[in-house]
């Protein structure tokens, strides 16, 4: 397999650049005998959309969980806005502006749209929920983002998959996320619904105040909205290129080569 060590193209070179919002250096993580991440280096510039792609089990989810404070790396360090941080919890990562939209959406079907948007950051007055105010703000925010749903009062269960994903993204941005991690945003979604989400990402990119990492194992869907892609294979980043310098074809070739190699190995050992 060709390991392509590309020189980072974002400004700044090896040191943290002023417009670099996230940098990971030498991250490693093992679970028992399994090495999930091995010396991973990654950087994200302000307003950039980075595609983090790789096969199932390549370590994408582990990396994501480390960035959002759900898990801690065994070694390595993380810099947010040039400052080294230890991400101990989801709440702490969030306070640094890192938020994540999970594959399973983390929405509570039984709760209304606006309660979901405010989940764990509710507005309260004398310990009682300020529902009217939360409802109004949620409505305004969704309108502003161009997300249209029948009503913010309906339970999330009554919305479609695309609507729910849009709500989840809107929720993250709404809470002032500066670094947004989207975990498989197009998984289990039809073409039209997927287009909605990609449009939402492009809209956020146009605004430029949010930096996004899209985690996807189907890169053909996301390549066009990404500025840059990192390919993760067996816990290592093996490719780092601007989207315009690579293609679905190139990525395909790498993945096909990997499958071929795995197949050969299997047949040899059999």
């Amino acid at each position: 397999m060709t390991v392509q060590d590309q020189t980072p193209q974002a400004p700044g070179g090896p040191g943290p650049a002023p417009d670099e919002v996230l940098r990971a250096e030498h991250l490693s993580k093992t679970f028992g005998a399994v090495t999930a991440l091995n010396d991973v280096n990654l950087r994200l510039a302000r307003g950039e959309v980075l595609g983090l792609i790789g096969d199932n089990g390549a370590g994408k989810s582990t990396l994501l969980k480390i960035f959002c404070g759900f898990q801690q790396p065994d070694t390595g360090r993380i810099l947010v806005n040039g400052e080294e941080v230890t991400l101990k919890s989801v709440t702490q990562a969030r306070s640094l502006g890192i938020d994540v939209v999970y594959q399973d959406l983390a929405l509570v079907n039984e709760l209304s749209v606006y309660h979901n948007m405010f989940l764990n950051r509710e507005q309260v007055r004398w310990s009682l929920l300020s529902n009217r105010s939360m409802r109004r703000i949620a409505e305004e925010h969704l309108n502003e983002m161009g997300v249209h749903i029948p009503s913010v009062n309906v339970p999330v269960a009554s919305l479609s998959g695309g609507q729910r994903q849009a709500i989840a993204v809107a929720r993250a941005v709404f809470t002032n996320a500066k670094i947004l991690l989207l975990d498989e945003p197009l998984a289990a979604m039809g073409v039209k619904e997927g287009a909605m989400i990609l449009d939402l990402v492009q809209d956020l990119k146009r605004r430029g105040d949010v930096s996004i990492i899209i985690i996807a194992h189907n890169y053909s869907q996301v390549l066009d909205v990404c500025d840059r892609v990192n390919l993760l294979q067996h816990g290592e980043i093996t490719l780092d290129k601007a989207s315009r310098d690579t293609s679905v074809q190139e990525l395909n070739d790498i993945v096909v080569a990997e499958y071929r190699r795995a197949l050969e190995e299997r047949q040899r050992s059999a």
């Binding site: 999970y102 929405l107 709760l111 161009g146 449009d199 066009d224």
Partner: protein, 350 residues
């Protein structure tokens, strides 16, 4: 893929389905959201039936005390705890034995340690909270399903009650009634105390469930456990808390019954009040699988069970067939819940 990644600016998310289906679904939605409506109709119908048929006996202050303070209050108060636990995906089968056991905590504190009655009553309530904490510890921290945890702790408490009482009911001295009257003792006006406790607790916990963070997180914990955790909600704390609330409420009912009957009875409590409370919660619209439920519905459910129980006695019908009716009620309520849920799913799939 290119036509996918370059959509026209802005997008509108429309509710799927045509008008008729949407209307049908909204209708079902209202039915689903207002699940209290069904049990309210049943409760009112039963009250009207017994009230009109047996006016002189059913609508008397003696019988209303029986109905509301003796039959309904214990079921409704324990049901509050069960609703909260069922919503967050747990259940407490031991709460009836908290009810059995804690009067002996109070009794022993007064008799052997000369603790003032009021303080002893508070200690007994705290014992209920501690038992709730133990249920939470075994379930949340040690990871045992609450169904099993609380069967175990329930047996333990039953045994404790039998040991400390030597399996004999202990009469409570009337001198203790100066404290006991606040929880409810026979005679006017203190006989109404259990009802007042019930109404106040129902209102408080209704507000907690629908208007507080605690309620929201309870729903989130049962609706999407992982999602709630990912949102940063301390799910364990919510479950611990709801076990402790249930323990407290079980202890309260135990003390109330002890004072009302002037005795601490090791054969009191047990599974019956607990199952009645769970039945009240379920026919009131609380989902056994978590994520949704209502305190007001459980109150109405308790009202239905109490009216049946009391009404049968008034009507002079043998109470032997009562379990058949209770069993049927829970089955019908569950079948309705499940089938309505299926209809809603079908509506969405269309």
């Amino acid at each position: 893929m290119s036509e996918v990644t370059e959509p026209e600016g802005g997008f509108i998310l429309r509710p799927e389905g045509n008008g008729t289906i949407r209307l049908a679904r909204q209708g079902l939605g209202v039915f689903g959201r207002q699940r209290e409506a069904t049990v309210l109709i049943v409760a009112v119908a039963l009250l009207l039936y017994f009230g009109l048929s047996y006016r002189s006996t059913f609508v008397s202050s003696v019988n209303l005390v029986d109905l509301l303070s003796e039959y309904m209050a214990p079921i409704a108060i324990i049901a509050i705890g069960e609703v909260l636990l069922l919503i967050c995906g747990e259940i407490d089968l031991s709460v009836g034995f908290v009810y059995t056991y804690v009067p002996f905590v109070m009794y022993d504190a007064i008799m052997y340690y000369h603790v003032p009655v009021a303080l002893a009553a508070i200690l007994a309530l705290l014992a209920g909270v501690v038992i709730g904490w133990v249920n939470g510890f075994i379930t949340v921290t040690l990871g045992v399903p609450s169904f099993i945890t609380t069967i175990g702790t329930g047996f333990g408490l039953q045994g404790l009650a039998l040991v400390v009482s030597h399996a004999e009911p202990l009469p409570l001295p009337t001198a203790w009634n100066s404290v006991g009257k606040w929880l409810g003792i026979p005679g006017n006006p203190w006989q109404w105390a259990p009802l007042i406790w019930t109404v106040v607790l129902i209102l408080i916990f209704h507000v907690v469930l629908v208007r507080s963070r605690w309620g929201l997180y309870t729903i989130a914990s049962g609706g999407n456990l992982l999602g709630a955790r990912e949102a940063g909600i301390n799910v364990g704390r919510i479950k611990y808390g709801n076990f402790m609330i249930t323990g407290f409420l079980g202890a309260l009912v135990g003390l109330q019954t002890a004072f009302y009957t002037s005795s601490a009875d090791p054969s009191g409590g047990g599974y019956a009040p607990m199952f009645n409370a769970v039945i009240a919660a379920v026919i009131g619209g609380t989902a056994m699988l978590g994520g949704s439920g209502t305190i007001l519905g459980a109150f109405l459910g308790a009202m239905v069970l109490a009216t049946l129980d009391d009404g049968f006695t008034i009507a002079g019908i043998s109470s032997n067939p009562l379990p058949i009716i209770f069993g049927s009620a829970i089955l019908i309520a569950m079948i309705a819940n499940v089938q309505l849920g299926r209809l809603r799913q079908a509506g969405r799939a269309l």
